[in-house]
């Protein structure tokens, strides 16, 4: 029973991070290698706002989320916008460079030591007992809840929202979308801000649950595996991929070797690339975008 809960929590973390990859890839066909760093930045922003709004945890979280959205828009308008129409490699490397820059900045501003935003917010993280004797911490439960909420609203937004439909159109054919008067820059900026928003949300909740340090980057990188296993342009795929990867990882840790936890997602990723490069639910596209 505890295994099921562990899988659910890990799958929720992966799904919440993976939808950031999917959002950006679906709209602009760029893989954002800085996603882990951006979510880490979100968590550190929470750490800062926590000291500003010491007794209002909710307003601290809201302020940090707002700041992270601003960061996402800035990253797009200042950097990624110039990369439109460039080689894929150049765009990917730009995100890599952003990631390195952020990693350095975070250490310079907040130091490399492990931080605990939970204590800064003066909250506690009690462990709850579920049916069947399994235990789950409140923050881990919040992650599952947040993932469900985010995916629900994303589905609704892309299905019915005016801007959601514009985003889908831009993803399907950017040129035609522009011809129809859709503001591509606004759509891309929106995708980047939504992506950093969900990523930062994931980063904050992970940090509340288990402390905050540089290792969050690795979680962000591992979350690319579920996005690709499910199909890089499909949100349903990201959910399924997160479940599959989380299950495989938890079982590997439990039954084989804890050291495997950093490799299992990548092994699954390679297997998927060999068998079905476009993923479980992704659209089969001409993989010719060098």
């Amino acid at each position: 029973m505890q295994l099921v809960v562990n899988i659910a929590v890990l799958a929720a973390i992966y799904a919440l991070l993976a939808c950031g990859y999917v959002l950006i890839y679906r709209v602009s066909r760029v893989m954002n290698m800085a996603h882990g760093e951006l979510s880490m930045l979100g968590a550190y922003l929470l750490f800062t706002t926590a000291s500003l709004f010491a007794h209002h945890p909710l307003s601290a979280i809201a302020a940090a989320l707002l700041l992270s959205v601003v960061v996402g828009v800035l990253v797009y308008t200042l950097l990624m916008r110039r990369m439109t129409g460039q080689m894929v490699l150049a765009a990917i490397l730009t995100t890599v460079a952003i990631g390195i820059l952020l990693r350095g900045m975070v250490v310079l501003i907040w130091s490399a030591a492990q931080q605990h935003p939970l204590q800064a917010l003066e909250l506690s993280n009690p462990s709850l007992e579920l049916v069947g004797g399994a235990r789950i911490s409140v923050c881990a439960g919040l992650i599952v809840l947040a993932t469900a909420l985010v995916y629900g609203s994303l589905f609704a937004f892309l299905r019915f929202g005016r801007w959601g439909i514009r985003m889908r159109a831009a993803g399907q054919n950017a040129l035609l979308a522009a011809q129809r008067g859709i503001n591509l820059n606004a759509v891309y900026a929106l995708a980047w801000s939504l992506s950093t928003f969900t990523g930062s949300l994931a980063g904050m909740l992970i940090a509340l649950d288990s402390g905050l340090d540089q290792s969050m980057v690795v979680i962000g990188l591992k979350a690319f595996a579920p996005a690709l296993v499910g199909g890089l342009d499909s949100f349903v795929g990201a959910l399924c991929g997160a479940l599959i990867v989380a299950a495989a990882e938890v079982f590997a840790i439990h039954y084989i070797d804890p050291l495997l936890s950093d490799v299992v997602p990548f092994l699954l990723l390679i297997a998927m690339l060999v068998v079905r490069p476009w993923g479980l639910f992704g659209t089969r596209e001409e993989l010719d975008r060098v």
Binding site: L79, A97, L101, V263, I270, L273, L287
Partner: protein, 359 residues
């Protein structure tokens, strides 16, 4: 190679001139002067400067091989650190397990590299661009995991010690000897690369990079040449890793992080895509960059305050410089060099004549 007409009116009139590595007397003189400077350097440099030079040489071998793969064959690889690790670990394991001498371990490392090259290259037959980058990245993690697993299983959790290689009973520990060995290795790699690019293989790679479908229509075996690019590049990279292991005398997975891969990619970018000279320049630039940053930081007031966050400053500055290159100088250091050259070639005019405007 790039055969732009020079302002001096140097034209090649027969095939021997076209094949010659060193075309003009000026080039010959400058090569000799450069080699002399390189030969004198270890006798006037401090041990620290000597170590820096050898580091640049090691990086040059790796960046040359990555340049062959990415700059000429057009295949993206984010698994370079994994290949270097593979070469280093081959040496470490062979030395620890069967106490093998270097004339067994070095070819073995090259063989392991070539075999891994096939593994890394297989996805390239089906995948391109982003997907290829991801698959090589994933393989990097698998190789690093295998190395870490070996370390913990055999009880070398802090790393594997490697004795210096011995030739006729003498152990090579002297920094100057290492300098010349690695200089020779870089020169050999450079010559191999230059000549490889002038053969059918090199032309096939460029055709694949320019346009795969057209290359196939021209009768080039895409699959074979792609795999060949991965195999050759990986074998050279693994050799660089093996030399690194011997030079440092110590192998540990911590040294081969994702950051190392990014550094090598940065060398290719900063140097200039599709240029061997760029690979060398980029290797020098990226290797010396952190030391330059350290120097600058120590000049600032309250230098001691920054000592503890030096690596963070390095990261931030490195990311910033990479961004600047990608945004404003995609042609890299070689691009800057060419622009300077052209400035003097066309002086006092600002632009080259339209008819001769070739890239």
């Amino acid at each position: 190679m790039s055969s732009q007409p020079r302002a001096s009116g140097y034209f090649r009139t027969d095939y021997a001139q076209d094949f010659a590595l060193i075309g003009t007397r000026f080039k010959l003189v400058s090569v000799i002067v450069f080699l002399l400077a390189l030969a004198i350097f270890p006798f006037v440099a401090s041990p620290f400067q000597l170590d820096l030079a050898t580091q640049v040489f090691l990086a040059s071998i790796g960046s040359l091989s990555l340049m062959l793969l990415t700059g000429f064959a057009g295949q993206i690889s984010l698994g370079h650190a994994g290949l270097i690790a593979a070469g280093a670990f081959t040496v470490g394991i062979l030395v620890r397990e069967i106490n093998a001498p270097f004339w067994i371990t070095l070819p073995a490392a090259a063989l392991v590299g070539a075999a891994l090259g096939i593994v890394f290259g297989l996805p390239s037959l089906r995948l391109r661009g982003l997907y290829l980058a991801v698959s090589t990245l994933a393989l990097h993690f698998v190789v690093i995991y295998a190395g870490g697993e070996y370390e913990t299983r055999r009880g070398f959790s802090t790393g594997i010690m490697i004795d210096p290689p011995t030739v006729a009973g003498f152990a090579i520990t002297n920094g100057r000897v290492w300098y010349f060995i690695l200089l020779a290795a870089v020169a050999a790699t450079l010559l191999i690369s230059i000549n490889l690019l002038r053969t059918r293989t090199g032309r096939a790679w460029r055709a694949i990079r320019a346009h795969e479908t057209v290359a196939e229509a021209l009768g080039i075996g895409i699959a074979a040449y792609k795999l060949l690019a991965f195999v050759i590049s990986s074998a050279i990279t693994a050799l660089a890793g093996a030399l690194f292991a011997y030079y440092r005398g110590f192998v540990s997975v911590e040294a081969f992080s994702l950051f190392l891969t990014i550094q090598y990619v940065a060398m290719v970018i900063a140097g200039g895509m599709g240029s061997l000279a760029g690979a060398l320049l980029g290797a020098g630039f990226v290797t010396l960059f952190p030391y330059g940053i350290e120097r600058v930081l120590l000049l600032l007031p309250e230098a001691q305050r920054y000592a503890s966050v030096l690596f963070a400053v390095n990261y931030a500055a490195f990311g910033l410089v990479m961004l600047l290159f990608l945004m404003f100088e995609p042609a890299g250091l070689v691009g800057i060099w060419r622009r300077m050259q052209n400035y003097f070639l066309h002086w006092p005019y600002k632009h080259r004549p339209v008819a001769a405007s070739r890239p």
